[in-house]
C-alpha cells in the first residue's frame, strides 16, 4: 500500500484556478467583435461542417488547459508517495534524516573483540551510506544530554567519518530527550521525507518508561509534524549476560583526618542469578596504580556485595581515590572515583553558659565527651575523629577568634551582647556552624526578640522564637517529682544527619526522656528551616536553619542531665557526631558528582581574577573564567545550601563531563596560600579558599549498567505516532530498512505531466486553428 501526501497541502486550494480556462472561455464568448460579411454562404456551410468536431476539440482543449493548471498546482504542493511498491522503482526523494547514535556506557558491552558500540557505528555507517548528496543529515550522540555533532549540511561521507570517530561516553542513556531533540531537528527541515534512526542497545532504563508526560510530549511532536516521521529503531543489543558493577562507594559521614583511618564502603552488584565468587575491591589513591587497599567483598546477597576499604592520607587538602572490581564485559561500571578533603582537625568551641565549676552542671562536659570520646585514651590516636573541642565560658568568648573554629556550641547561654550576637551571626553567615543547646540561663523572650529576628539588616541566628519553658525539672528521682516527660517520637530520617538512625541502626533516639524544653513553632514553609526531630507532643526538638553559607542547629532542650537524660544515652554521641560532621563535611558533595552533572564551585576573588584550568580524565585541558552566578541559578546551593547567601561569589562552571574519572581544577595561586587546606577557617566546607588544586570525581550512573533491552512491544507502546520500524541489526539492516522506507517525491512527474499537457494543448489549439 502507498499513500499520497503533500508537503504544502495548503497550496491545493489553488486547484480552484482550474476554473480559470472555463472563465476565460466564457469571457471570450461574451467579448467578440462584429463584422459585416459578404461571403456568408461559405461561412455558414463551413460552420455547419466543422461545428461538431470543433466542439469536441474545444472541449478537449478546455479540459487540457484545466489539467495543466491542476497539475501545476498539485506539483507546486509537492506531492510525494509514501510506502508501497512505487517508491522503490521510482527512486528516492530528498530526505532529512537524523541519526541518533547511542554512545552511553552500556554500549561498551563487549561481545568478543567488539563492543556493542562498534556494531552500532557499523550499522549507523550503513544507514548513512544509503543517503545521497543533497540529503540533509544530522548526527546526534545520545547520552544523558543529546549532542548534535554535525554542523551545517554535511555530506554522507563526512557524517560517516564523524560516526567512525565517535567515542563512548560514560553517560547514561536518555532516549526520550534524544528523540525529542531529533524530532525538533526534523521539524526544522524542509524535505518531504523525514527519517529518524535510533541506533541503540535499547537498554530499558534508557527509555524512561515511567515518564508518561515525556512520551506524551514526543507523541504530540510527531502528531503536529507536517510530514509524518518515520522512525527506525536499530536494535544493536548484544546477547544478554551477567554484568557486575561497582554500584556505590559510600564515604564516611565524618571528615577525613590527616593520618587518621578513613573507611569507605564499596558495594558491588551483579545481574547474575548465581554469582561466581566474591568481588575483590582494590583502592588506588591519588595516582592510578598506587594501590593502597584491597579487600574481598562479602558473599553476594540479593545481588549485592559489600567491602570496606581503609586508608589514610598524609597531608591535608584534596585527595582522590579510585575503587575497582574485576573487569568484565562492561568495563565502565567496574570503577568508581571519590574525592575527599583531608583535615588535620576540626576545632569546635564549646561555650558554657552556666559558668559553674562543675562542667557537668551546664552539660558542656557531656558535649566535650561526645565530641571527642577518645581524648585521654591511650592507643586510639588513629581513630577517625578529627573534632577538637575547646570549652570557654561566656566571658572568655570575647578572647576567642571565632574565625578559627568550624563549629561553635552554645550550652545554656544567657543574654549575649549585641556585638557578640552580631559576631555569631556573621560567623554563621560566613559558613560557620552553630549548635545551640538551651537551658536554665536562657531567657525565651530575649532569645525570641533578639536572636530569632528575620528582619534585615541583621537577621538572628536562631531558627525560631521560643515559647515559655515547658515541663518540670525532676529532683533526684524523676518519679518523685511526678512531672510529665516527653520522648522523641518523630525523626526526619531523610535528613543526611539523621539517616543513620533509621531503624535504630545508629542508636535509638527514642529512649531519651525530656523533662523540660522550650516549645517552638518554626516556620516550616520556609525552605531554609527544617525540623529534624519532634517530641511526642509534636513540639520540635532539633531545628535546622540555613543562614548565609552556614547553618544553625537548635536543640530545644539542654544538654545537661537536669532537663533530659539524652546526654547519658549511648545515642547522644553518634547524634552529636552526625550533626557535627553534617555541619562541616557537607561541602564535599560538590566534588563527588555523576557523569553529565555540571561541575560548579565558588572561587575566592583572587583566584577568580585569572583563568582557571580544568584537566579532564582523557587529558583535555580547558581554560575557564570565573563568572558571577545568575540569580536563581542554584549554583551556590549545590551541596552546601548556600542559596540565599548574603553576597554572591564568583564561580567556575564546567559542563563537559561525559567521561567518568577525576577532573582537576587548577586556579591561580592565592597570595599567602600554601595550596593546602587551612584548618580552623570558618566555612571549612569551602575548599576554594584553601588551595589551587581541586579534584572532582565523576562516576557513572549505574542505572545504565542493567543492559536488559526493552522489548519491541514496549517500544511500540512508547512511540505511538509516526511510523516506527524496529530492526534488529543482526538480520540484514539495510535490506530491511530499504524495504520500509520506500517513498518518492513526485512533483517532477507532475511537471512532466504539465509539459505533456502543454504539448497536447498546443496540438489541439493548432488543430482547432486549422479547423
Amino acid at each position: 500500500m502507498f499513500g499520497l501526501s503533500f508537503f504544502n497541502p495548503a497550496l491545493l486550494w489553488g486547484l480552484g484556478a482550474a476554473a480559470i480556462p472555463i472563465l476565460i472561455h466564457l469571457y471570450n464568448r461574451r467579448r467578440f467583435r462584429t463584422v459585416a460579411w459578404a461571403a456568408m454562404e461559405f461561412l455558414v456551410s463551413s460552420s455547419k461542417l466543422t461545428a461538431r468536431r470543433l466542439k469536441l476539440l474545444q472541449l478537449l482543449l478546455l479540459l487540457t488547459r484545466m489539467g495543466i493548471v491542476s497539475l501545476l498546482v498539485v506539483g507546486v504542493a509537492r506531492p510525494f508517495l509514501t510506502g508501497g511498491f512505487l517508491g522503490g522503482p521510482l527512486g528516492k526523494s530528498k530526505t532529512s534524516a537524523v541519526i541518533i547514535l547511542d554512545n552511553s556506557y552500556s554500549m561498551g558491552l563487549r561481545e568478543g573483540n567488539e563492543t556493542v558500540f562498534d556494531a552500532a557505528k557499523k550499522a549507523a555507517g550503513e544507514v548513512v551510506s544509503s543517503f545521497r548528496h543533497g540529503d540533509s543529515l544530522t548526527l546526534i550522540l545520545m547520552g544523558e544530554r543529546p549532542r548534535v555533532v554535525t554542523e551545517g549540511n554535511p555530506s554522507p561521507e563526512r557524517v560517516k567519518k564523524l560516526i567512525e570517530t565517535s567515542e563512548l561516553s560514560d553517560e547514561k542513556t536518555d532516549i526520550l530527550a534524544s528523540l525529542r531533540k531529533g524530532l525538533e531537528v526534523l521539524d526544522g527541515e524542509k524535505n518531504t521525507q523525514k527519517e529518524l534512526f535510533l541506533v541503540t542497545d535499547c537498554q530499558q532504563n534508557g527509555w524512561s518508561v515511567a515518564n508518561i508526560a515525556g512520551w506524551d510530549s514526543v507523541d504530540k511532536l510527531m502528531q503536529d509534524a507536517e510530514v509524518k516521521h518515520r522512525i527506525y529503531v536499530l536494535d544493536v543489543s548484544a546477547r544478554p549476560g551477567e554484568n557486575a558493577m561497582l554500584s556505590s562507594v559510600r564515604l564516611p559521614a565524618y571528615p577525613c583526618g590527616v593520618g587518621k583511618r578513613y573507611i569507605v564502603e564499596a558495594t558491588a552488584a551483579t545481574t547474575a542469578e548465581k554469582p561466581a565468587g566474591r568481588p575483590v575491591f582494590t583502592l588506588c589513591l591519588d595516582k592510578e596504580g598506587n594501590e593502597v587497599a584491597r579487600t574481598e567483598g562479602s558473599e553476594f546477597k540479593d545481588g549485592t556485595s559489600t567491602g570496606r576499604l581503609i586508608f589514610s592520607v598524609g597531608s591535608p587538602g584534596f585527595h582522590w581515590g579510585k575503587i575497582s572490581i574485576q573487569p568484565d564485559r562492561l568495563e565502565a561500571d567496574n570503577t568508581r572515583y571519590f574525592v575527599v578533603k583531608a583535615k588535620d582537625s576540626v576545632p569546635v568551641l564549646c561555650v558554657d553558659g552556666v559558668g559553674s565549676l562543675d562542667e557537668f552542671e551546664s552539660g558542656i562536659a557531656y558535649m566535650v565527651y561526645a565530641l571527642a570520646p577518645e581524648k585521654g585514651l591511650e592507643g586510639v590516636d588513629d581513630i577517625a575523629n578529627v573534632l577538637e573541642p575547646k570549652v570557654v565560658n561566656v566571658e572568655q568568648l570575647w578572647e576567642e577568634e571565632l574565625a578559627r573554629y568550624e563549629v561553635i556550641v552554645l550550652s545554656s547561654v544567657g543574654v549575649l551582647s549585641v556585638r557578640m550576637h552580631d559576631a555569631l551571626t556573621d560567623f554563621v553567615t560566613q559558613g560557620g556552624a552553630l549548635m545551640i543547646f538551651l537551658g536554665d540561663k536562657v531567657d525565651p523572650l530575649e532569645y525570641s526578640e533578639r536572636y530569632a529576628s528575620s528582619a534585615p539588616p541583621k537577621a538572628g541566628f536562631l531558627p525560631c522564637a521560643l515559647g515559655s519553658a515547658k515541663g518540670t525539672v525532676p529532683g533526684a528521682d524523676e518519679k518523685e517529682a511526678g512531672g510529665e516527660t516527653v520522648r522523641i517520637s518523630e525523626v526526619d530520617f531523610g535528613h543526611p544527619a539523621m539517616a543513620a538512625f533509621r531503624d535504630g541502626a545508629g542508636g535509638d533516639v527514642t529512649t531519651a526522656k525530656f523533662y523540660r524544653y522550650f516549645p517552638t513553632s518554626p516556620d516550616t514553609m520556609n525552605p531554609d528551616i527544617q525540623v529534624l526531630a519532634r517530641f511526642s507532643d509534636g513540639s520540635p526538638y532539633i531545628v535546622e536553619r540555613k543562614l548565609g553559607r552556614g547553618k544553625t542547629i537548635l536543640f530545644t532542650s539542654s544538654c545537661d542531665v537536669k532537663w533530659s537524660n539524652m546526654s547519658l544515652k549511648p545515642v547522644f554521641l553518634p547524634l552529636v557526631h552526625r550533626l557535627a560532621y553534617y555541619l562541616v563535611s557537607g561541602a564535599d558533595e560538590r566534588y563527588n558528582l555523576t557523569v553529565g552533572e555540571r561541575m560548579a564551585v565558588p572561587l575566592d576573588a583572587e583566584e577568580a581574577s585569572s583563568p582557571a584550568e580544568i584537566v579532564t580524565p582523557p587529558g583535555g585541558v580547558f581554560k575557564v573564567m570565573a563568572s558571577m552566578p545568575p540569580l536563581g541559578s542554584g549554583v551556590r546551593d549545590q551541596g552546601s545550601g548556600e542559596e540565599g547567601g548574603l553576597q554572591a561569589e564568583p564561580f567556575v562552571s564546567f559542563e563537559e563531563t561525559s567521561v567518568s574519572g577525576i577532573y582537576t581544577l587548577n586556579t591561580a595561586a592565592v597570595p599567602g596560600g600554601g595550596g593546602t587546606s587551612a584548618p580552623g577557617q570558618p566555612g571549612l566546607g569551602e575548599p576554594a579558599r584553601s588551595g589551587r588544586v581541586r579534584y572532582f570525581a565523576l562516576n557513572v550512573d549505574t542505572a545504565e549498567s542493567d543492559v536488559t533491552a526493552l522489548a519491541q512491544d514496549g517500544i511500540r507502546r512508547l512511540i505511538r505516532s509516526g511510523e516506527m520500524k524496529y530492526v534488529q541489526t543482526e538480520t540484514g539492516t539495510m535490506e530491511r530498512i530499504e524495504e520500509m522506507r520506500h517513498g518518492k517525491e513526485i512533483w517532477r512527474y507532475f511537471l512532466v505531466g504539465v509539459l505533456c499537457f502543454l504539448v497536447v494543448e498546443s496540438l489541439l489549439a493548432r488543430k482547432i486553428d486549422k479547423g
Binding site: 467583435r33 462584429t34 463584422v35 459585416a36 459578404a38 461571403a39 461559405f42 461561412l43 463551413s46 482547432i768
Partner: protein, 298 residues
Amino acid sequence: MGEEKDKKSFLDPQILMTLSGMELKARMVVEGVVSGLHKSPYQGFSVEFAEHREYTQGDEIKHIDWQVYAKSDRLYVKRYEEETNLRCYILLDSSGSMGYRSDGMSKLEYGAHLAAALTYLMLRQQDSVGLVTFDEAIRRYIPPRNSPRHLKIIVEELEGLKPGNKTMVSNIFHDLAERVHRRGLVIVISDLFDDPDEILVSLQHFRHKKHEVIVFHLLDPSELLFPFERMTLFRGLEDGRRVLTEPATLRKRYLQQLYAFVDKLKKGCRDNRIDYFQISTDENFGRALTRYLGTRRK
C-alpha cells in the same frame, strides 16, 4: 471645376497614361478583329491597309493581293488595321455583398473604378459603351453610346452607386442576354456570390448570343485569406444572417470552399471561352487592368 476634378481622380491620369502606351488589341478570332479589349463580330468593316506579307499555307485566298502577284509573280497577303464600332456592356454588380470592405475600397467602389477606366478606354477607341448596374434586379441600364459625353453619364452613375440588395446574378444575365441583340463585348464586374452553376449557365447564355464575355471577379483580401482570429460575430450583408464563431477554427474549411467556388468558375469560364480574371481589391485596379490586358495580348 469640382466635378471635373472628381472625374480626373476617379480615372487616375497616371494609370490611364500607362494604359495608353499599350495597344489594346484583342485577339483575332475567326470572324473578326479585336480592337482594344474586344474582338469584332464583323469582317471587312471600316478596314485600313497596313502591310503585305508573304503568303503561307492556311491563309485565305481572298486576302491574296493579286496585283502584286501580277507584278512580282509572288504571292503576298494584305494585312489590315481594322476598326469597328463595337458595343460593349459593362455589367456592374451593386448588390449588398459588393459593399464589403476590409480595408480601403469596397468591392463596389473598386468595380466602379474599373468600370470607369474601361469606359474611358472604350470610348477612346470609338466604341460604344453601356452600363448595367444590378443586384437582385437591374437597377440602372445605360445603353451603349460612343459620344464623348457618354463618359460623363456613366461616371456620374458610377459615382452615385450604393450597395443594394441580394445578388441574383444568373437571372439578370439571362435577362440581359435576351435583351441585347447585337453582338458585342460583355464585361461582368462582380463578386459572383451566387450559385456558380447558375452563373456559368447564364454566362453561357451570353456566349450563345455570340457575345464575347470577360469576367472580372472581385474579391476582398479578407475574403481570400479569412485572417480573423478573435471571437467574431459575422453579420451577412445581404440577408442579415449571423454566425458567432472563432474564425480560426473555420478558416481552413472556408478557404477550401471559396477556392473550390473560384476554381469552378474559372473552369466553367475556360470551357465556355470566357475570359475570367480574378482581382483582389487591395490590388491597384489600374495595375490589375494592365495585368489583364497583358495576358490578353498573348
